[in-house]
Amino acid sequence: MKCSVCDRESVQEGFCELHKKAYENVLKKYDLWKKALEISWKEYLSEVAKNPLTGEWAREVAEYLRKSGDN
């Protein structure tokens, strides 16, 4: 099976080795954002996706999750 974001083979949760790490990071950081800004998961994903400091893979994962409506 291919990674949901790129052409590499998926290893877990539909992501390849590289995007899996980014996915875990996106999940992990939500608690801090929620505490800081009191925002929803969807709002969080939008914020992360448009932040220029977000890493390339984390942005791709955030965009994918936002578009796929994963909550």
Binding site: L18, N25, K29, A36, L53, W57
Partner: protein
């Protein structure tokens, strides 16, 4: 010519300097044989000084050809046998052999380090006909007349065989790693795709790439976390100062808003003034790593460039031997004489005089030592000719650092003013130099900020002009640059001072990384993934460091070269077998990465017309001419195309035009300065330029 002493040096410049220094009239005669220069000096007897051209011999496989692996049998051969384009080496060796025939005394005067020792050893053994055991050794750290004469008068009775063995081990182990792993990668990819691309890795290159990939992954997976900070503009004695909120990081917007609300429109009162005086010690003398790091941060020179400039300054006898890891300056270099000579330069006159009146000159040395050389210092010789800009800058840096290490500690004062605004505390900070000490000698290279505060006292009321809330985010870890990567390699103790800069350059040359703030390419990721998956031992920093430590022990006579080679082969054998077994899978993975890397190299940016495709450099099948086209052309969605210059090279810059925001390309044509080209025919900048030309 009669019998004479044959002195072998590492490079032609050094030969000329040594010959002139040893000639009793200071005028050695330059000779040439088949384009190879050598010098005749007369002292108590005739001396012929002949240079090598760096390494004349190298390690090569016993079997010829490059299309096979594993390969564990090797020998030392002239470089022209192993390398294409090293033809000049043949005449060089022939000349040395010819000169060796009539010599009855041999002196190795190559640089006193691992590389120099190997160069001298090989020349004496192979070109001079097994003279390595009867040869004497010159040991010096500067190419000044005084030191060279002293070194010749006090010749070491034999070569430093421990250093030579350490050098041989290093070259042989590195060759075993490099040739086997690089051939495995290159041939796997070539056999799978039918296309050739040089891929390489090595004993130090692999672990270095691993550092870069780890950092790249952290950056690409990075999710910034929001935080807030608050600043207050405080008016004191008619001037505005910026004070920081007591909590530098506020984690929730709620808390930040509450603090702002509480402070807005309120005035403050100075609660406390903390004054601290502290001494700032002079810097340590330069070792090569520290010089490279300082030159990068001050002038932007890459470690490789600094190393090359320093080598030129050394060959011009302006500074001591630069490839040193020492932070020590022994008294024997004669501090006072150096300072006296430097005082002949107007800009150093006053500074040197200040040091010369000191009763005792004691450098602020560091802990690091080097058995062969002291730290880098100016010889006191002044430039004979015009130095180029980079040489002048680096020499000035070495001179000023040398003087600084003898300076007094600087006395500095920091002031922390606590201001209470509606129960919230803000800090105002000042910094001031009370006694300059060594800072005066380092002059333009000092990086310390002075923030002077007006007279204030505790209990004083102050006006808060503004309270500012700043939205911030935690930043991703910084990318490595050539200097910080070099530091990391030093810290991890992989590679040597002489090889690290070259290894970084190889990573660029192989296209595993790009840009000054290093970005790992897809190809870099894939190569490391292959190595980590099939042979983690060769990218292990721990194993590399252990091997490094063992090799250092050879230098101390507590380990044997043969044992190290056996260890290396034991590590490599199973690794290469595994690579061979998985050749097809590896070949496919690497070939796809090479293909992606080649495409990536040609992608310029998003197509500004269709917004969904990407612009890339393409070649017309009909005419072979290059142009810019959209990737959506192949899907019949976008026909955008732009012409490109046909001469020279064109590559994406990753930058956007400042006027039209279109991606730009960098054009390089031989003999012209490279320029950034905006290929948008309607870019307003072009129109403005045309107008300007008309007006002129």
């Amino acid at each position: 010519m009669g019998k004479y002493t044959l002195v072998v040096t590492e490079k032609p410049d050094a030969a000329q300097r040594i010959a002139s220094a040893l000639d009793s009239r200071g005028k050695a005669k330059k000779m040439e044989d088949n384009g190879v220069p050598y010098y005749i000096a007369n002292r108590d007897r005739k001396i012929v000084v002949v240079p090598a051209l760096g390494h004349l011999y190298t390690v090569a496989g016993e079997r010829s050809g490059r299309n096979y692996y594993p390969v564990f049998n090797f020998r030392w051969v002239p470089r022209y046998v192993a390398e294409r384009g090293a033809k000049q080496i043949r005449t060089w060796i022939e000349t040395i052999s010819k000169l060796a025939k009539d010599a009855d005394l041999f002196v190795d005067a190559c640089d006193y380090d691992i590389e120099g020792s190997i160069i001298g050893y090989c020349v004496l053994k192979y070109a001079c006909g097994n003279k390595e055991n009867v040869s004497k050794r010159m040991k010096y750290s500067t190419l000044t007349k005084g030191e060279l004469e002293k070194s010749y008068a006090e010749l070491l009775p034999r070569l430093d065989f421990a250093l030579i063995e350490a050098g041989r081990a290093r070259h042989e182990v590195d060759w075993l790693y490099g040739v086997n792993l690089s051939r495995a990668l290159t041939m796997s990819a070539r056999d799978w795709s039918g296309k050739y691309a040089t891929l390489s890795t090595g004993r130090v290159q692999g672990p270095t790439l691993k550092f870069l990939v780890a950092r790249e992954k952290a950056i690409r997976c990075f999710v910034p976390i929001p935080f807030w900070s608050i600043k207050a503009e405080i008016e004191i004695a008619g001037s505005i100062f910026e004070a920081e909120y007591e909590k530098t990081t506020i984690e929730t917007k709620k808390e930040a808003d509450a603090a702002i609300k509480a402070c807005k429109g309120k005035n403050g009162k100075i609660e406390k003034i903390d004054i601290k005086k502290f001494r700032q010690m002079p810097p340590k003398p330069f070792d090569l790593g520290a010089l490279q790091s300082e030159a990068y941060s001050l002038f932007g020179y890459t470690p490789m460039r600094t190393s090359n400039i320093a080598q030129r300054l050394y060959l011009a006898a302006l500074i001591s031997y630069p490839r040193t890891s020492s932070q020590k300056l022994p008294q024997s270099i004669n501090y006072k004489t150096i300072l006296k000579n430097l005082s002949k330069v107007s800009q150093y006159k006053k500074l040197a005089a200040e040091l010369l009146v000191k009763e005792q000159l004691k450098p602020n040395e560091g802990k690091k030592e080097d058995p062969a050389h002291p730290a880098i210092y100016p010889t006191g010789n002044l430039p004979e000719g015009e130095l180029d800009d980079s040489e002048r800058k680096l020499w000035d840096l070495v001179v000023r650092r040398f003087m600084s290490v003898f300076g007094e500690p600087a006395l500095r004062q920091s002031v922390k003013v606590s201001i209470n605004v509606a129960g919230h505390r803000f800090h105002l900070r000042g910094r001031q130099t009370l006694e300059e000490g060594w800072l005066r000698f380092y002059g333009p290279y000092v990086r310390s900020e002075e923030v002077l505060l007006p007279p204030i006292k505790e209990g004083q009321a102050v006006r808060v002009k503004k309270v500012i809330l700043e939205d911030k985010f935690v930043k991703p870890p910084p990318r490595y640059n050539p200097a910080s990567l070099l530091k990391m390699m030093e810290k991890a103790e992989i590679g040597t001072k002489a090889t690290r800069a070259g290894i970084i350059q190889t990573l660029y040359d192989r296209k595993y990384i790009r840009d000054e703030r290093m970005i790992v390419t897809d190809l870099g990721f894939e190569v490391l993934e292959v190595l980590e998956k099939y042979c983690p031992a060769v990218v292990s920093v721990k194993l590399t460091k252990e091997l490094e430590e063992k090799m250092n022990k050879i230098q101390l006579n507590s380990e044997k070269r043969e044992n190290i080679l056996v260890d290396a082969v034991e590590i490599l054998k199973p690794v290469v077998e595994k690579l061979k077994e998985k050749e097809k899978v590896i070949g496919e993975q690497l070939s796809k990465a090479i293909k992606r890397a080649r495409i990536e190299e040609r992608i310029i940016g998003a197509c500004p017309i269709c917004k969904t495709g990407k612009l890339m450099i393409l070649y017309s099948r009909k005419t072979g001419k290059r142009f810019i086209g959209c990737t959506n052309y192949f899907k019949n969605l976008c026909k955008t195309s732009f012409p490109l210059p046909q001469k020279g090279t064109v590559r994406p810059t990753g930058k956007m035009c400042r006027r039209c925001d279109w991606p730009m390309v960098l054009v390089r044509i031989r003999g012209r300065r490279p320029w950034n080209l905006c290929f948008n025919p309607d870019c307003p900048l072009k129109e403005e330029r045309r107008e300007r030309r008309k007006d002129e």
